[in-house]
Every structure is written in C-alpha cells, then in structure tokens.
C-alpha cells in the first residue's frame, strides 16, 4: 500500500496546477465551515456569558424571553413596572441575599440608559463570575454622575468629565423632547466585557426620577424647565417604580421555592425567571437560523468535495494509458482502484489541513479585533477537536468520493487488458 501511496503522491505532484486549485477549493470550503462553526460557538458562549451570579430576574408578568431581553440585553420595552414597595418587600425576604433594582426607558444617542444603585457594580457578574471593572474614574456618587460602558466611551469619544444629556424614550438625540435641562457628567468608564453592559449608560435611580420631574403625565410639562437643579436636589427622589430586579439568593437550593413564592406574590403580580434557563430558551429561538447557516456551510464543503471528484474524473481519460502500464508491470485492478482513492484522499486531507491553517491564521489576526468590536470572544476556538474531526471527516469523505473514479478505472483496467486503443 505504501508503494501505491507514493505513486499517488507523485501523480499529484505531476499535476500540481490543477491539484493545487482543487486543494484551494477544498481549503476555502473547510475554512468557511470552520469559521461559521467557531463564530457560532463563540456567539453561543458570549451569549451564555452575558449574565452570571444572578439567580433570579424579577419583573412584571410578561414572557420569559421578553423579560430577559429587556432587562439583560436592553432590547424591547417593559410593558409594566414593579412598584417600589414591592421591591422593598422582595429585598427583605429572608431567603434573598441581595436585590438590585434597575430602571430602563431613556437613552443617550442610541445607547440605553440604566438607572440603578451602586450595588449593581458589585453584584452584576458576567462570563465565569467576572465582576464589572472600572477602567477609569469612580462609581455614581453625585445625583448627575454617569458610568458608561466601554463601547459608549469608544464610539462617542467620551472620557471622564464628558457632559451628556439623556433623551426620553429610545430615539437618537431628538432635541426638544429630551432631558437637556438636566445634564449628566461622566465619572466612570467600565472596562470592556463583551456584554450589553458595554453599550449602556449607568445612572442612579434617583437621577432617573429627577430628570422626570415635570414628566408625570408622560410628556414634558413646559413648566418643568423652571424647576432648578437645587430645587430637585431638595425633593424626595425615591422612585415610585423600577423596571426589574436582579436577585441573588442566600442558598442556591431554594431557587425554585423562592421563584414560586415570587410568582404567586399576593397583591402585585410578578414574574421571576432563572437567567440561565431563559438564555437557553432564547438561544433555542435562534437555533433555527444557526442550523440553516450550518447546513449552508456543510453544502459548501460538499461542493469542495465534488471539485475533487471533477478533477479526478476529468483526468481519467488521459490516464488510461498510465493505468494499463501499471497493469502490465504487475499492478492488480485493486492497485489501480486504491491509487485513485488515495489521490482523492490526499487532496481532501491537504485541502482540509490548508483550510484549518487558513481559518486559524484569520482568527489569530481578526480575533482580537472581533472581540473588541462585537464582544464575540473567539479565544476559546484555538486548534481543537472540531478541527481534528473536520480533518478526519473531510479526508474520509474524499476517500469515499474517490471510489467513483476509482471504480470507473477499475472496470476499465479489467476490460482494457494490456493494450489501449488511443
């Protein structure tokens, strides 16, 4: 067999030009497949890493996915809120270690604004229980302090001391309908996390109340501009409602009973969700698109394999003479068969290998950029088992597909005998 392998190798070298083109086709298809696969794995991990350390998220009754989307991903809107007394009641439960209220609804130049307390920076965790770190500055000390995420700072070019004005609702800086009479000042910038936190402006709950003084009807009262900052600082700024609560338990074991207790709360109806379960549910929504993408890249590999078939089949006629020479010097039809199967296998192997090298070269160069820009970490996608499986699978598939031309040559070599009429 090693004699046939060396023949196959020399035969491929002899047809370098077309063989390299075929290898490139296979390499590109494998690189695309692995690229999709790694982006998918990275996205899924990044997605699952968005929130950790929080045992329950509590909000007004809505869909599980909806509550997760607006409280964690800052997507969509809450249809109802949680009243402040209810928050206090839940925070006081004996089985609860901490509860952090959050309040959403305003924005700054397209970035969501999150009203919360400083404990948020202690308890909100992402990835493998990583805490939020301040890249510079400090937390929310004054009423009109703002701590911004890394993307907000980078995209808007903000640093410590930058002034910013919130807009009511989610539109982009539509002046006149905003809170421009209550400017904030950036006092802290968070380090990048690869989560929606990067795209969030954090202010205190009291600030949210303060900027809405004069908005009690849902629209801005023209008289609100006559209320000065000093007057506002004198008000009781305790919020009437918050959007949701992040909750940590004293003992993880009580998660289901605590959840049931909150869900069946007497008085104000509430809903508690377990973040990891909700994340899994949300991911399953995207699984369809993910599978479609996967299917497409598998077909691309199939196209790459077909190009091996084409190149060998098209060379078969001009190699008919070669086959009869091999037969004349003692090669059995089985040798002719394995020669062509091995050629296909070698092309598949080197094509897949080249594809793996290409995708890792691309990831090495583009990975850090992608991570910084989109928060999709591709760090965990170094050479691994997926690559090995792909290499083995593509090589086996190439060997299998090589049996088609090999079978043709096998039958011909039986029929042709020693002499081929050319």
């Amino acid at each position: 067999m090693s004699a046939i392998l060396s023949l196959a190798w020399k035969s491929l070298l002899n047809r370098k030009g077309s063989v390299i083109l075929t290898i490139v086709a296979v390499a590109l298809s494998v690189a695309l497949f692995l690229g999709v696969e790694k982006a998918r794995t990275g996205a899924r991990e990044g997605f699952g890493n968005t929130i950790s350390g929080t045992d329950l998220i509590v909000g007004a009754p809505t869909g599980t996915v909806n509550l997760l989307l607006y409280s964690v991903f800052r997507m969509g809107n809450a249809t109802a809120e949680v009243s402040w007394p209810t928050y206090q009641k839940i925070a006081a439960r004996p089985d609860i270690a901490w509860a952090v209220p959050i309040s959403l609804g305003d924005s700054h130049r397209g970035f969501r604004v999150l009203g919360t307390e400083n404990t948020y920076f202690d308890y909100y965790k992402y990835g493998r229980n990583q805490s939020l770190e301040l890249a510079e500055g400090h937390r929310l000390d004054d009423l009109f302090d703002a701590v911004i995420g890394a993307d907000v700072a980078r995209e808007l070019g903000y640093g410590i001391g930058s002034p910013l004005v919130l807009s009511h609702g989610l539109g982009k800086a539509n002046l006149g309908s905003g809170h421009e009479n209550r400017p904030f000042r950036v006092t802290g910038v968070l380090a990048p996390t690869g989560t929606p936190v990067d795209r969030t402006v954090h202010v205190s709950l009291e600030a949210i109340t303060a900027i809405h003084v004069g908005w009690e009807t849902g629209a801005k009262n023209p008289l609100s501009d006559t209320i000065t900052e000093e007057m506002i600082r004198g008000f009781d700024l305790t919020p009437k409602t918050v959007t949701a609560l992040f909750v940590g338990l004293k003992k993880k074991g009580t998660i289901l009973t605590t959840r049931r207790a909150i869900n069946t709360n007497k008085g104000e109806p509430l809903m508690a969700i377990i973040p990891s379960a909700a994340l899994a549910e949300l991911w399953s929504v995207t699984a369809f698109a993910e599978r479609a993408l996967m299917a497409v890249s598998v077909f691309v590999i199939a196209v790459g394999l077909v190009s091996i078939l084409t190149s060998i089949l098209s060379s078969l006629n001009e190699r008919r003479r070669e086959m009869s020479i091999l037969r004349a010097v003692g090669a059995r039809p089985g040798h002719v068969f394995s020669l062509l199967v091995l050629e296909a296998g070698l092309v598949g192997f080197f094509g897949a290998l080249a594809g793996i090298l290409v995708i890792h070269a691309v990831l090495a160069v583009a990975g850090p950029v992608i991570e910084a820009r989109y928060g999709v970490s591709l760090a965990g996608t170094g050479p691994g088992l997926t690559d090995l499986y792909t290499l083995v699978a593509v090589t086996l598939a190439a060997l299998l597909i090589g049996m088609v031309p090999a079978w043709t040559a096998f039958r011909r070599s039986l029929a042709d005998g020693l002499s081929v009429k050319l």
Binding site: L7, S11, R321, A328, G330, A331, P333, G417, L418
Partner: protein, 231 residues
C-alpha cells in the same frame, strides 16, 4: 528437460458471443528462445498477448506460462504471475509520466517480491546498470522528465523496465514501429543481448517481416491461428 516458457494448446478466445478471434491448436516458446511472431494489426495478437500476460482469460484450452496453466488461475494469481515472471514493452507511450527514468525502471519491483529479491539491495544501481547497457548513461538525460525523452530513448527505458529483476519472459509488442531503421536494429540487438544475459525468453511481435532475420525462429500468427481473422 525444463518446462517451456510458454506452451499453448487448443486455445480459443472470443469476445462475448462473437466469432472467435483466436483458435490456436499449438504454440510454444522455449526457455531463453528469441521468437519473432509476425502479427499484423487485427490478427488477434493483442488478444493473444493479453491472455499470455494473464490480463485476459481464455475461453477454452490451456495456456501454460512456466508450467502454470493461466486459464486455471484466479485473476489475482495471474496478476502475480505477470508481476513476477513477465516483462512487457509496448509499441509506444511505455512510461508513467510522473515517475523519473529510474522510477519507471524500478516500477515492477513494487509489485513483485521475487523480482525485488533478484535485484538485491540497491534497485537504483541495478536500474542504472541496465540503462547503461542499453546505452543510456548520460546523468542529465536520466534526470529529465520521461516525456522529454525521444521515442527511441523511451523504448530503451521500457526495455530496462521489462528486464529488471530478470523475469523469465519478455514480451515486446511492436516496440520499434515508431523508431527509425538504424535505431530499430540497434534496439533489437541490445534487447537480444540482455535477454541472452539474463536467460529470458523473448517474444517479439511485429508486422515487419524484415526483422525476422534477427531472431532464432519466426512464426506467423496467421498460420497458427485458425480463427482466420481478416487482416
């Protein structure tokens, strides 16, 4: 008395249900004999050579190669007989294009342990010696791609390949038809010398009767084949 190299009795061969192309009551080739077989194209000589080489199976009769009845052997066993005991030279396009000159000459050794043993520990040196005897000594020439060699040179490389490992029978199927007259006589001379040295029987097939004088014995295929295929 040793067994003849080739001994055919009552051989009949037909493609499918067509009329037989071969019907040879008797044909033999002694060990070490140099036989000229005259066979114009269409006389069934390719079929006959295919049967002797074990690539084709006979319809009836016996074809003994070195005493082995090829008609009684399996396809794989016939392949092994050919690999071990036969050297074949074709009319043209004898060489595998992606192998070097030496690689082409040593190719049969990859398929036959017997011929590998006969050559000894250094097949490349043996290939070089055979090529040198056939007049191919220029190292630059041996380094060229086989497709860049002249037809005469290619035929000598093919002869070296047929002779390596000292097979008992060398079959040459019109090996000189694409070579000019001088080179042709010289080629046959060299081939005869080398088969004489290794003791191989030579079955030389050609339509050109004028070559018959260079051999021990001459046979006309049309005379021994009763199937009477039109020329």
């Amino acid at each position: 008395m040793t067994v003849p190299a080739i001994e055919i009795e009552g051989l009949r061969f037909a493609w499918g249900k067509h009329a037989p192309v071969l019907d040879i009551p008797s044909f033999h080739l002694a060990r070490g004999e140099r036989l000229f077989l005259r066979g114009p194209s269409g006389s069934g000589k390719s079929t006959l050579l295919g049967i002797i080489a074990g690539v084709l199976g006979a319809s009836a009769g016996s074809v003994r190669v070195l005493g082995e009845d090829m008609t009684a052997l399996s396809g794989a066993a016939r392949d092994r007989m050919r690999a071990d005991h036969l050297g074949v030279i074709f009319q043209m396009f004898n060489l595998v294009p992606y192998l070097s000159v030496t690689g082409n000459v040593t190719l049969p050794l990859k398929f036959s342990a017997i011929r590998r043993r006969a050559v000894g520990s250094d097949p490349e040196a043996e290939a070089g010696r055979l090529l040198a005897r056939l007049g191919l000594t220029d190292p630059a020439l041996l380094a060229r791609r086989v497709s860049d060699l002249s037809v005469g040179q290619q035929q000598r490389v093919a002869a070296a390949r047929a002779l390596i490992g000292a097979p008992e029978i060398v079959i040459a199927d019109e090996p000189t038809s694409a070579v000019d007259a001088d080179a042709r006589d010289r080629f046959i001379e060299l081939l005869s010398e080398e088969t004489a040295r290794t003791g191989a029987a030579l079955l030389f097939v050609s339509h050109d009767v004028s070559l018959a004088r260079l051999f021990d014995r001459a046979v006309d295929l049309a005379e021994i084949n009763r199937a009477g295929v039109s020329a």
